[in-house]
């Protein structure tokens, strides 16, 4: 069965600093991988997705993620964060249904 591990439950970072949110998955088959962002009291918004092809995936709001099959990872990165990036971030692996990680709360400090 597929599973997703988000290694950090909380990540504080100063504004304009780079950030990496870590995600590892387990699956015995080819996977589709996603990152979603959730702002307070809102639904989940798709940040980016990996379906196939290039292992470096660019998403919205300046985020990108790299699919690493040998390390079964799909870490999310942003070179310079803004206060508005403060939110909960969920990594997910596609099966039916989606399997979510437990989330990482990114707090950007001014």
């Amino acid at each position: 069965a597929q599973s997703v591990t988000q290694l950090d439950s909380q990540v504080p970072v100063f504004e304009e600093a780079p950030v990496e949110l870590r995600c590892n998955y387990s699956s015995s088959v080819s996977v589709y991988l996603f990152w979603y962002v959730q702002y307070p009291n809102q639904g989940l918004q798709l940040l980016l997705k990996y379906l196939s092809g290039s292992t470096l995936v660019k998403g919205i709001n300046g985020f990108e993620a790299e699919f690493n099959k040998s390390q079964t990872s799909f870490h999310l990165r942003k070179p310079s964060v803004h206060i508005s990036d403060t939110a909960e971030y969920f990594c997910a692996v596609q099966t039916t249904p989606l399997v979510f990680g437990k989330g990482t709360r990114l707090s950007v400090i001014a």
Binding site: Y32, F34, N41, G43, L44, L46, T96, F100
Partner: protein, 115 residues
């Protein structure tokens, strides 16, 4: 813009009083999902409709039911809400084909309070 709409955004109900949450979509997706999300937790899938086929998760309580009268609408019925059912309820949609389902698009959620 194509979207997933949930009404109401905030719902207060009394302990044991049936409540219905609604979801509509303009994406023309054939798969619709209902998730429950409690504070500081990941969304938990309750059930989903693949076209007209209803798929219940094994651990979804019988207290939770769903209806999908047409492609665009899906309802979540909680027959006798308990205090533990207070949560954010998220509706999502996706395309589905014989090869599986694709990325999901979420509505803004309905926050349910049980008094």
């Amino acid at each position: 813009d194509a979207m997933v709409i949930q009404n109401p955004r905030y719902q207060v109900t009394q302990f044991g009083k049936p409540v219905t949450l609604s979801c509509s979509q303009t994406l023309n997706h054939n798969v619709m999902y209902w998730y429950q999300q409690k504070s500081s937790q990941a969304p938990k899938l309750l059930f989903h409709y693949y076209d007209k086929d209803f798929n219940n998760e094994a651990d979804t309580p019988d207290n939770f039911q769903s209806r999908r009268p047409n492609t665009s609408f899906c309802f979540l019925d909680i027959r006798s809400p308990g205090l533990g059912d207070a949560a954010m309820y998220l509706c999502a949609t996706s395309r589905g084909s014989g090869r599986g389902t694709y990325e999901q698009y979420f509505g803004p959620g309905t926050r349910l309070t049980v008094t």
